[in-house]
């Protein structure tokens, strides 16, 4: 599965259509690059339950 920010929803849809395959994805709030470590860590903390659940049946 992949993790990307919300800016990439359309890119994921286009790539999935081109390849005929939809890998599981979760999207965290954009942006990343100008955030503080604490902000990014908070995003990861908020995503971890969803990531684990998408890795399992």
């Amino acid at each position: 599965m992949g993790v990307a920010t919300t800016e990439f929803v359309e890119a994921w849809q286009a790539q999935s259509a081109a390849l005929g395959y939809e890998p599981p994805m979760i999207f965290v709030p954009h942006p990343i690059q100008d955030r503080t470590d604490a902000e990014i860590q908070a995003l990861a903390d908020a995503a971890v339950d969803e990531i684990v659940s998408r890795l399992t049946a």
Binding site: A4, T5, Y21, I32, D37, A44, V52, L55, T56, A57
Partner: protein, 94 residues
């Protein structure tokens, strides 16, 4: 762009025709999760934290890295992940 080819389904048509992701395991017990860093700036901060949280849950984690986000992963990296891990989380764009 060339015409999109259409094939005739050779199967008994009991399953969907599109490519499906592989079946997910019922739990992560005993399975290794790969974290693939695509080399985008500050993605490592996110993956470090995710790594820590998975460790806390007793989930085995291995780390991998693509040399550049601009290209698909080298075959050697893909083969190493396939050999060593059952599942992979890839990030982080952007």
């Amino acid at each position: 762009m060339r015409n999109t080819p259409v094939l005739v389904d050779p199967t008994g048509e009991v399953e969907p025709a599109r490519r499906e992701p592989l079946a997910r395991p019922p739990s992560l017990d005993g399975r290794t999760v790969a974290l693939l860093d695509i080399s985008k700036a500050r993605g490592d901060v996110f993956l470090d934290r995710l790594h820590m949280r998975l460790d806390e849950r007793g989930i085995e984690v291995k780390r991998y890295m693509k040399p550049t986000f601009a290209r698909i992963a080298p075959i050697a990296v893909k083969q190493q992940i396939a050999s060593e891990a059952a599942l992979v989380v890839e990030g982080l764009a952007d």
